[in-house]
């Protein structure tokens, strides 16, 4: 019987990175967690989430299919290997705040342009 990888193992790299102990990255082994990425200098942070899809039999807890790693960048599915090496790990709370901040900050709308902080209309 195949068993799913436990969450603590899937998120171990991310948890350590957040605690200040970022271990070396292996390019083709993206690690589950919450991140932010920038496409241009002074451009807006874009939220990135990497997670593992596990198809589990509810009654037995058996893994019914191979586990697969997925990633989304600002809600759009992207290649996890492509995004992982340049993404900065952030806490889940910071990720949620970034998603919220982008939703009401038009100055962060263009991923390929520097953020105009004068027009950002930020509030504490």
């Amino acid at each position: 019987m195949r068993t799913p990888t436990p969450y603590r193992q899937l998120y171990a790299w991310h948890r350590a990175a957040i605690a200040g102990d970022e271990r070396p990255r292996i390019a083709d082994e993206p690690q589950c967690g919450w991140y932010r990425i920038k496409l241009v200098r002074n451009g807006p942070w874009i939220p990135v989430r990497i997670w593992c899809s596990q198809h589990i039999e509810a009654a037995t807890g058996e893994l019914l299919a191979d586990e697969r790693i997925f990633a989304e960048q600002d809600g759009i599915t992207v290649d996890p290997i492509g995004v992982w090496t340049s993404a900065h790990p952030i806490s889940r709370k910071a990720y949620d705040q970034l998603v919220e901040l982008r939703s009401y900050t038009p100055a962060m709308a263009d991923d390929h342009a520097p953020v105009d902080l004068i027009k950002a209309e930020l509030r504490p």
Binding site: L117, I118, A120, L122, R123
Partner: protein, 179 residues
Amino acid sequence: MTAPIGHNSLPEIEQLQLEVSEHLSSRHEWVEAGAETREQAELMNDYVGGLRALKKRVEDMRAAAVDPLKEDLKETERVFLILASKLNGNILVLDLILTDFLVEHGGNIGSATGGARTRSLRTYRSVEIENALKLFVHYRDDPEILDALTKRAAKDVRSKSVDSDGIPGIRIIEQPLIS
């Protein structure tokens, strides 16, 4: 059409005044909210980044407006000065809050949006003299010190009737010079 550099039109300045006023409208909210968490500090850093960008715009427009032939130069200068001083005051206050945060929590303050530069603490070192004679002996051969001493002595020699006995360690050179 944008006015060429050196010819800021009044509407441009009014537009700038409006932008500064709009940006500063939330200044009390930022001071009241403070920076307890890193997330708050990062967002405040972005707001300060906006203030700094506006200050740079004010300075750039002021430099472009320097045209001695313009009659309203003094008035224009006054407007720019007020805007720059308003922005500066608020940058200083918020930078103090961010400094307190860094002193307490360490690390640095990034940007919540991505647009502001990362802020960190640097140590500013300065000096207070405890023993001037010891200090002078240490620097006695330093060209900058010798140059400063030469200028200081020359000032006394030129303005007062002081001879080389009055100032030890110098030789007075007198040469004819047409005036």
